[in-house]
Structures are given as structure tokens and as C-alpha cells.
């Protein structure tokens, strides 16, 4: 139900002639930061004839386009937790990486420090997208909207625009990250959007690779490890859901192995970590490794759901409600994981190479204990006593 209406309700601006003019203008305008060896042709007029329409776009005529190196990659969402690991792995394997970031007064410097090219565009403004796709062979999409923004703008409309542009401009591989079991939870808006996007990609006719993820280990650091070390309170739910966390560096590594594997083309893979953990288990593990007990505040899942219902009442907190919708999943699913043996065999990966949560947290605590001591000593705020 949701999928059909969403597909029909595409933004009509894609078909407008004004947009086409915008495309040609951007193809010739050639912003200054595009002076890199991928673009050898001088911009003499518009050599790319592109049409976008509301249905799945079919390239009507692509006259001689810009030559495309098979090692050129565009990473969307390169500043995120997963995106930056994808960029690093791509750079190490010799790809020429272009990152799509939003124009900021204080731009993310670390991407250029690593040697990636940075181009400015915004998924919520589709006219900025085509210029970034020139000369690109593969697009890796790790982007999602920030919690304070409405979901639909970036995660649905922006992605649709990106996919249609990619199809029209002849991108030869599209990698998309989705969420495990997104087809089973249409009441959670983000999962429903991801599911619709998956179907859209599959119908668009691109050579795609869709990867469903369960959870990242990196998020656990800020949520549990840091509060335990700083002796602050740790908030957890009592949900029995087990989530199989995975290291983002492993996700990036496996993504590239899958990208080059012909057997994984036009496939939907799921990556899950080696073991599924509940919140309580993670907190216990952190306590054990840190050597101190945590000050745990357990929030019943019912309270989360209640808050969600409450925030849905008010217009301005609707976005918060959407974000809190995951609490529905927490109360229903018990295991957020899949067996990975077949995937490992398909990709030719040894399961022993995947980092476990114990090892990850152990490395973290060993290293950070020294560093945090210094940081703590510097930034200790004086409490106010009366």
C-alpha cells in the first residue's frame, strides 16, 4: 500500500523543462573544483543529452559522454559513520573517490586530508546532483537525513532524484545501504522508506547492490562505553531484542569485495555481525572491560512508545516521533540478525576475519583509558556546591 502511492506521488519537478535547462547549464558550468584528471574534455557546450521523467528513466540518447574510469566512485554521505569508512577503504584500494557533502560554513576537512575530492551538493535540491555524477562509474549511497530534519526530504525524495539521475547518466553500479527487516515494519517510517527505495532501485534497471545492515559497533561507544568511563548514567531499555552489531570497517571491506564479485551483482545481501547482543549484555560487557560498574537507568520500552504517541500529537515534534518509531521494532522483534555463512561463502571471506564486539570494545578500552585520562584532567568542570 505505501509503496504504490509513494511511487506515484513523485515530485513533478523532475519532468519540468526548467530542470533540463538546469542540467545542461550545470554540465557546462563546470564548477572550479572539478579540475582533476577525470575530466579531460574541455566544457564545450552540452555534450550530454539527458532526459528525466517520472517513470523509471530510460536514457534516450547519450551522445559521447565524458570518459569514465572504472576506478571512479562517488560516495554520498561521506561524512557519516559508515561513509567515512567506505571512503577510506576505497582510497586504500586505489579508487578515485569523490564525496558529496552539503555546503557548510565549516566544511568537513578530513575528507580532503585523506585525498578524496569533495563536491558540494544537497540531496534535497535535486538540481545540484547531476554535476556531481559526471565521469563516475560507481555510486555508493550511505546517506541518511539528520535526526532534526524531516525524513522524507532526504531519504525519499532526495534518493529518488539521485537514482533517476544515476540511471539517466549511465552510472554502472549503484550500491545502497538499507536496514534489515525493513519490509517487515511498514509502521516505522524510515524502514518503510528504505524498503520503497529498494524496490525503486530494483525496478530502475541499474546494476545495483543492496546491502541490509543490522547495527554498528561505533554507535555503542558513545552510548555505553563513554558514559561508563565518565561515570555518568547509562540509559538502556529492557527490550529483549538482540542486535547483531558489526564494525563499520568490516562493512566497508565486505562492500568492496561484493562490488567486484560478479555473482553479487543485482543482489540484496544482508550483513550482520558475528553475534547478536541485547542492551543489557552490552552494558555488562562494557562494565567488565572498563572495570567499573555502570550507573544504569533502565527505561521500559512502554515509556518510549508512550513518548512516541505523545510526540505524534504535535506538529512540530512529528520528526521526533518518526525517529522514535524504532521503539516499535524493539518491542516486537527479538533477534535482529541473520546467519552469514552463505554470504561469507559467496564473497569468499573468512568468518574469523570479522571483528567481534568483545575484541572491538577491548581494543577501545585499552586505548582510550590512557587518552581519556588526559582529556578528563583538562576538561573537568567544577560542580556547583551550596
Amino acid at each position: 500500500m505505501a509503496s504504490s502511492t509513494s511511487l506515484a506521488a513523485l515530485p513533478s519537478q523532475l519532468a519540468s523543462p526548467a530542470r533540463r535547462a538546469a542540467l545542461s547549464r550545470s554540465a557546462t558550468a563546470r564548477p572550479r573544483h572539478h579540475h582533476h584528471p577525470l575530466l579531460r574534455e574541455p566544457p564545450k557546450g552540452c555534450r550530454l543529452v539527458v532526459t528525466c521523467n517520472a517513470q523509471t528513466a530510460v536514457p534516450t540518447s547519450i551522445a559521447q559522454g565524458t570518459p569514465v574510469r572504472p576506478t571512479s566512485i562517488l560516495v554520498v554521505g561521506a561524512t557519516g559513520t559508515l561513509g567515512r569508512q567506505v571512503v577510506r577503504r576505497a582510497l586504500d584500494e586505489g579508487y578515485d573517490v569523490r564525496c558529496l557533502v552539503r555546503p557548510r560554513p565549516a566544511p568537513a576537512d578530513f575528507l580532503r586530508d585523506w585525498g578524496a575530492t569533495v563536491v558540494n551538493a544537497d540531496l534535497s535540491k535535486p538540481e545540484t546532483i547531476p554535476a556531481t555524477l559526471v565521469g563516475i562509474h560507481t555510486v555508493i549511497d550511505c546517506a541518511t537525513g539528520r535526526p532534526e530534519e524531516p525524513i522524507r526530504t532526504v531519504d525519499w525524495e532526495g534518493k529518488v532524484a539521485l537514482i533517476q539521475c544515476a540511471k539517466a547518466m549511465g552510472i554502472q553500479k549503484y550500491v545502497f545501504y538499507s536496514i534489515h527487516n525493513c519490509d517487515k515494519h511498514p509502521e516505522v517510517p524510515l524502514m518503510e522508506i528504505k524498503h520503497c527505495t529498494e524496490k525503486f532501485i530494483q525496478d530502475a534497471g541499474l546494476d545495483y547492490l543492496i546491502i541490509r545492515l543490522c547495527g554498528f559497533m561505533q554507535g555503542l561507544i558513545g552510548q555505553y562505553a563513554v558514559p561508563i568511563l565518565e561515570e555518568k548514567s547509562v540509559w538502556g531499555t529492557d527490550a529483549p531484542t538482540r542486535i547483531a552489531y558489526m564494525d563499520t570497517q568490516d562493512v566497508a571491506r565486505l562492500t568492496f569485495i561484493a562490488m567486484r564479485n560478479e555473482k553479487a551483482s543485482k543482489k540484496l545481501l544482508t550483513f550482520a555481525g558475528p553475534r547478536a547482543w541485547t542492551t543489557q549484555e552490552v552494558i555488562t560487557l562494557c562494565e567488565r572491560l572498563a572495570g567499573q560498574d555502570a550507573n544504569v537507568t533502565t527505561v521500559p520500552v512502554a515509556v518510549l512508545r508512550f513518548t512516541r504517541q505523545l510526540t505524534r500529537f504535535f506538529q512540530w515534534t512529528n520528526d521526533v516521533a518518526d525517529r522514535l518509531a524504532f521503539s516499535e521494532v524493539l518491542s516486537s522483534d527479538t533477534i535482529f540478525s541473520v546467519p552469514m555463512n552463505d554470504t561469507y561463502q559467496l564473497l569468499g571471506v573468512d568468518s574469523k576475519d570479522i571483528l567481534t564486539l568483545e575484541k572491538y570494545l577491548q581494543d577501545y578500552f585499552t586505548n582510550i583509558l590512557k587518552k581519556l585520562k588526559d582529556l578528563k584532567a583538562q576538561s573537568k568542570q567544577t560542580d556547583i556546591f551550596f
Binding site: H33, H35, H36, R69, P70, T71, T81, R88, L91, D92, E93, G94, F110, R112, D113, W114, G115, T117, T144, R146, P147, E148, L190, F216, Q218, G219, I221, G222, Q223, V226, K232, S233, W235, T237, Q249, R253, F256, R260, T297, V299, V303, L304, R308, L310, R323, L324, A325, F326, S327, G348, V349, D350, D363, Y364, N367, I368, K371, D383, I384, F386
Partner: protein, 598 residues
Amino acid sequence: MAAMSSRCAASSSSSAFLGAPLPGGRHHQGSCGFVAAGGGAKTTVRVAAALDTEATAKAGKSSSRARRARKDGGEPGGSSSTALLAPTHPDGGGGGGVALDDVIVNPVGLGRRSRQIFDEVWRKFSRLGQMSTVASPEQEEQEGVLFRGGGPMCDFAVPGAQDTTVLVVGATSRIGRIVVRKLMLRGYNVKALVRRNDQEVIDMLPRSVDIVVGDVGDASSVQAAVSGCNKVIYCATARSTITGDLNRVDNQGVRNVTKAFQDYYNQLAQSRAGKSSKSKLSIAKFKSAKSLQGWEVNQGSYFQDIYPSRFDEGTDASFEISENGQAVFSGFVFTRGGYVEVSKRLSLPLGSTLDRYDGLLLSVGGNGRSYVIILETGPLADTSQSKKYFARMNTKVGFCRVRVPFSDFRPVNPQDPPLDPFLVHTLTIRFEPKKQRPGDSSQGASDPRNFQLIMEFIKALPTGQETDIVLVSCTGSGIEPNRREQVLKAKKAGEDALRRSGLGYTIVCPGPLQEEPGGQRALIFDQGNRISQGISCADVADICVKALHDSTARNKSFDVCYEHVSKQGDELYELVAHLPDKANNYLAPALSVLEKNT
């Protein structure tokens, strides 16, 4: 209700604020509500209270927020990204005045802090129900230390990379760019030598790379580039096939770099009044008549019979200074099985022993003959116990430098143990006609039993654990045949200069380069000019980076290419499955089987 009173207190106190200027916080009778702020909303928050304050926040949102914004100049609160909720003053203690006679309170700070606390509480709460989390800036900083650029938890970490500076020559080439990126990812400090400093080049390289502008053919700019560097990766090659270019980049450039590197280390050593660990040790320098002291000329025979046969026409040799001041060892050997040699007992400077050295470097001018170098080891007191080791040295017509590594020496007596350089006491250079190959590049048709050896110096080459310079050369199979000769000649000259410089070297000769991502296919390492396949630039870059710290890579030259995958059904042997594991340390085992000092 508590909520109502708190709101009243909030508005009244804020209006009190607007009226009275704050000279730094004194007794604020009316602003008592802030007192309990610190303790109240801290760790043991009851969720119900949170919901309450949230409800009041929505109600009183706009007004107090606007005033707060004007007061603080729009300061962002805490680290939260939820801008929806207002900064409230959770002063559940109600109104009333508690006199603050003795304590100086800064209400602005208090307000900010209470807002921070509330934001943090809300963030933690809402995080529970979220799928993905956005890390706060401080956390990003902390994580960055660990995960970025070679930190301890990153996949690419190399121990010791933070202290190593690598100079990449040819950083704008296909291989060079990937090398620079890989080095940055592993946390090395990178310096790049480029010819032009324009925008295109700057965009091509990562931002924290130290760019030095100069040309490899120019010794002074190379000097500036090399200073401060521990290692060099040389991926530059001539972009055209003009002989001048080839010589400049592939030949002279390598020489300049090696010389500058040695000079830099000598300079460093001088400043600490020591010796550079990379400089060569001078064993003998033949400059004047005095340098000939200690050298004895002997003759002998391999045949044990002492009766001179009637075919014996004599043997004569001498070692003396010629008119142009050169030390010449010359003579002829007509005796069958005879030889002449010149030898000297070594007198090394105090404190140096040959075990810290890897081989000998001789600068000689021969006329194409080959000679044998013999080292005698053994206790100094008792020469009858010495063992002899020999190695062959070929000379070209004209002056050349010959490198003879200690690993090339074989014991004369096969049962003896391998050469231990520490015990060497005598060095001998021997000429024996019986071992001359016919047509051995001799001048015209002169008799191979004559010889003339002009000796300039003998030095020892230092040993080390790791390679110092990685040079990317080529096999020539990717170049058109008509240009191949020239290119190979220039490259070989550069390689030889590097080998004789005394530095640890690794010479990588890849097959024809392809633009593919690296790490996909198995690689073959070989040392025989037999390779036929291509290889991707990224793989070559990976080899260069891995060779920097690998002791099996020191002083080796090798070719590398992809493994040839034969068609289905055509296989003569089973392909060994190459599963790259996470660490992907393929280099050490592959190179350990190759011959050293080639």
C-alpha cells in the same frame, strides 16, 4: 502545580534579568529558582519528570527561548541537535527566596548548564528509540583519535608510522597518487616533490601533504626535499621519450636522490659527532703512494707441482702508482694455473667491524677481466687457522663500481661455515687467467692473460633492517619496441646507481600498468624477466607501502604481475585459492623466497 509555579518563577526571574544589569553576580533575591538547578535534573532523573518538563517546555517555549537567545547572543545549547525543546529551568523547588549570601552565582552559566543537562537527558532518552545516532563533536574528536589516520583501532594502522616521514617523488603520477593516499591513511607524514605548485596539483594531493616544488634533475631542490625524510618512494618516470628527459628523471634523478639522502644522513651524524649509519666505510682509498703501503703482490699456482713446465712463460705483476696518480695493478700470467694477487691486512678504524656491513663496493677501472676477491677470516694471531672465502667480480671496460655483497662469498673449503664478516682480517684481489671466459669484452684481440686494474677505492656497504628507498622501475613489456631500448637503458642506469649507493633499496618492476582497483587478484613475484601479465597501479602502490618496513624487502629487486588465469579446462595445475585475509600480509612470504642483493 509545580509546573505552573516553575513557569511563573521563570518568567519573573527572566524579567528581573532584563531590568537589572549583572555586574558579575551578587545577591539575587528573586532568582532563587536557579539554585536547585544543578542537583535537580542530574543523573537520577525520573522519566515522569522528564515528560512533565517537556510538556511545560512546549507551553513556555517561544517566550523564554526568545529572551534567552537575546541574552546569550544565540549561543547553542550543549551538544544536542534537538532544537525543538526549550531551555527550561527545571527548578522543581518552587518559588520563594533562599538567600545566597555567601556564594557567588553566575546565573547565565547556571542557565546554560541546566539547559545542557536537559538536552543531554533528552538526547539519551530519544537515542534509545532511534536507529542511527549522530555522534556529538567531542565524541567525534575522541573517535577520530582512535580511528583516523593510523590510530590504534583503525584497520590500516602501521606501528611507528607517526614518526616516519616519507618523500614521494612523482606524487602526481598514477602510482604516486595512490601511494600518497595509502601513506596518509596509515598515518605517515608525507612530503611530495612536484614540479608545479598550481591548483590542479594541490587538488590532486591530500591537504596535509607537505609539497616541495622542484625538479629531480636539480640537485639543490632534491636536497631541500630530502631533508627531514626517513624514506623515499620514487615513482617518477619521464613523461616523454626524449633521451634528455629519460636521463634526467630515470637516471640523474635517482642519483640525485640517493646522493642527497646520504648527504642528509651524514649531516645529521656530524651534528651529533658520530657516524651516519647509512654511510659507507672506507677500507682503502688509492690516492697517493702512501696508500699502497701494506699491499703485497704475491703469485701462486693452483697446481701443486713445483717443476716449471716448459710451457711456462712466466708470471709478473706489479702494483704501483702510474704517472697520472692512479694505483694500477697490472701484469700478465702465462703460467698454466697460475695467479697473481694483491692483498692487504685490513686496518679498520677503531670501533668499526665489518659485521655492521653488508658487502663491498669497489671502484675500479678494469679492461673487462674478471677477478676474484678473497676474504680471509680467522683469529688474528694464528693465520694458519684462517678460512678463505671468495667471490667473483666482473669489470667492464672503463671505470665502474662493482658491488659484491658478503652473501656472494663462498668458502674455499666447502665444509667451512658461511662468511662471518666480523672475523675478516685480510682482503685479496686475485687475477687468474684460467677462469677468464673467452671473448670476455676485452679490447680487440688482446690476450686474456694480461690484465690491468686501476683501483680507486674499496668501501664497505652498511647493513640495515629496512629499506630506505623504494624505486619503481619497469620491465619494458609495456613500452613500444622502438623506444624500449632507450627507456630500459636509462632505467637500468638509475637502478645501478641506487644499488651502489649503500642505501637499503627495493626495486619493483611491475608489468604493464592497468587502471583497476587493487587487492583483487593474486600476484606473482619473480626475478627473471619472465613476467607477461599486467598489474594494477593500486597493487604496485600497496607493494611500495608494505615494503617500507619489511626486512625481507631490503636490497631486493623483483618483477611483479598478476597471476595468469588460464581458461576453464585449460589448466595444467590447480590454482591455489588466494583468499586475502584482513591483514593481507602477502609481501613478506612472497619476498622471502627471492634472492637478495640482486
